[in-house]
Symmetry: C2
Subunit: 413 residues, 2 copies
């Protein structure tokens, strides 16, 4: 992509609406644009990051045999009345009535729909176990949307649902999911903690939350400064670390994932049963597994930035390499830059060429703001010694290479 | 994918709700499941087809330099009042008020949002031209949803928007889009016609519709039996073919795409202007380009089926190859089938192995229903002569191969 042809518009200052580091950086880098409070457009740069996260999630979900489907946003209220979650969710659920008088809502989650769906197909033990998941837009009537994508009215989630014959099967898939979640958050470049949690409105006996320590977090975890152990709010009522007997520090944390052993809560309501090997009817044992995908983006930025801008972890970066000719009106510099761009594009790397006729200072500042992992600068050193400069956004390490060695140089970094 | 582990549940008969061939076949093949009238879940098999279509569309859109973004479903009514389309869309638009009293709707289209968005970033001729597109869920309060995904309340569209300095620029991108649309529909295996159309509620001077002749179409095109020319409803008031002077036949057709030269209709309302080379302020010239993605699936099936089931065109097929061991309890047959499956999987082909312990007759019927382009059968001929049978779903042609020649055999077909 040539920057001049892209829809990347950086801002020197974020508008006043920005309430946290990640929110400010996303606005300044031109990743998102607010339509109304709590409702955002993902601009091309923001969507690339979202797509990278989705790719990681799909790989990890598919690796454990989950199958992707796509359920609707529009849901009938009747399903929610059956589980009595209609009242529980209350005004948070967006409701409307259509022209035919049907009472509908926009799904904030899909336990009811997926259990009803499974009950139409599952008959015997031979149909079990299986896991379904979707990546989908959810809706909540948030009274106080905050921090950009962190607490929004329209947001993107991955929700998975497991269906098993017995609790042993549930335990097995729950552990696999737990590990898949660890992989996902690691690959996103996140420092995270998992904590036994209260199942709350979703229900069931056992649940674990995945939390990312971040300034814009609305949850709190406690950390022992000695052993590094994390404790949840409830555990921390004991007020010292159970291992070290030392005081705990208060840390804001953002919930990015939550997994639940649901048991038969939903299958009982929707009659989701199967015939076992002996012909006896039994309830299907369920689990559900959520990731707040859109809020992962601010979570990643909160943990990966410096005073100059974003520092994208490799797998989620919108581009791998930014090629920066310091002066596009210098023919030698610009044609060298184009050559570097073409070599790397051919190698299937995601490259952006800053071909804008702007001052070098502006281009360097924008490069730091966008946070692409590698920057290749073509400038004075190229004119004098035919060398190009490769800089790591993270380590700030700089190396010089001959133009014809560029491919190996990039691979080495 | 092993069929026994998949969420593919075929039905002998579609429920009574099915009103057309494609709708019946999609239900029978387990591609979709109705939640309420006009609202469907895409089951894993249906989602695979949707993803394949999306991939084709993204490739063709990116090839002409369009950039993908994702705009929100929730939109403020104010934007629609500005263009007076609030009244024009009337009850078709789903509306609600949130807890903070904001009057909102679920976007049936995004001209207002995208023009408002562009007006926040575009300043000079150097920012032009560009094209933005999204693949997104849209909502309509349909009084009479019909034919499954054909006329639904919740559906998926690709909508693109072009922004140019002048009408010459618009004409150029309009022609490119027209060609991209031809590529997309051809790659989807569709026989289609394009016709100059009435811009209607979207507006502008020039528009073209892309129509697919199909029994469940709600539009009508006229076809000359001599020259094969198509005429739109308006043109056909002349009642004979203008070339052949012969009578025309009435054909149902389904609208799958519509492109519009909008001109300044939206940019005037939202103040989307730019400074030209001489510093003079001018309005941005816009175009918009829609494809009804979810209804492409029934359109493809309407044109690609026989009495036994679906016949997927290559690029949109959920799997490339179905491997069918006639008897999974026969060790030799089943291990040969697994070997074939593994060889093809390694070659990055999308393969499904029908490992179900079902009668061969049921498996053959299901294979025809699902419509995977190639079926590889391992049965009697394998036991006697070590030969496997490859059958084309479309041509019904059958060939025999040795197991160790399977890779070349598949490539040849």
């Amino acid at each position: 992509m040539y920057w001049s042809k892209s829809f990347i518009h950086t801002l020197k200052e974020a508008s006043e609406e920005a309430e946290s580091t990640s929110h400010r950086l996303m606005l300044r880098a031109g990743m998102i644009k607010m339509l109304i409070s709590g409702v955002y457009s993902y601009l091309p740069l923001g969507l690339k990051v979202l797509d990278n996260i989705n790719k990681i999630i799909r790989q990890e979900m598919n690796a454990l045999g989950s199958q992707e489907l796509l359920m609707p946003s529009i849901q009938p209220i009747e399903l929610w009345q059956m589980t009595k979650r209609d009242e529980l969710l209350g005004e948070v659920m967006i409701r409307f009535q259509d022209r035919r008088g049907r009472k509908l809502c926009l799904g904030p989650t899909h336990e009811e729909v997926v259990t009803d769906l499974a009950s139409r197909y599952i008959q015997s033990y031979r149909d079990l176990p299986f896991v379904l998941y979707q990546i989908q837009t959810k809706f909540r009537d948030e009274l106080r949307p905050r921090f950009g994508l962190v607490r929004a009215c329209e947001f993107i989630m991955k929700d998975a649902y497991s269906f098993d014959k017995d609790t042993e099967g549930l335990d097995e898939i729950y552990d696999k999911m737990y590990k898949a979640y660890e992989n996902i958050f690691k690959r996103c470049g996140l420092d995270f903690v998992s904590i036994k949690a209260d199942p709350g409105v979703i229900g069931g006996d056992v649940s674990h939350e995945f939390l990312v320590p971040a300034e814009n977090g609305e949850d709190v975890v406690y950390k022992c400064n000695i052993c590094g152990n994390y404790l949840s709010g409830n555990d921390a009522e004991i007020d010292v670390c159970p291992h070290c007997k030392k005081d705990l520090t208060k840390i804001n944390a953002l919930e990015v994932g939550h997994i639940f052993k649901l048991g038969t809560k939903y299958s009982d309501v929707f009659g989701l049963r199967y015939l076992d090997e002996s012909g006896k009817e039994r309830p299907v044992i369920m689990g559900c597994y959520g990731i707040g995908i859109s809020r992962l983006i601010p979570a990643i930025i909160e943990q990966n930035n410096d005073a100059d801008g974003i520092i994208w972890p490799k797998e989620v970066a919108p581009y791998d390499i930014l090629v920066l000719p310091v002066n596009v009106t210098d023919k030698d510099i610009f044609s060298a830059a184009k050559k570097v761009y073409e070599i790397l594009e051919k190698k299937k790397m995601k490259v952006i060429l800053d071909d804008r006729d702007e001052r070098a200072g502006i281009k360097f500042k924008d490069a730091d703001l966008l946070g692409i992992p590698l920057r290749i600068t073509i400038g004075e050193k190229f004119l004098k010694e035919k060398k190009v400069e490769i800089k790591s956004r993270k380590s700030k390490e700089v190396k010089l290479f001959n133009l014809d060695k560029i491919e190996e140089a990039v691979k080495g970094l």
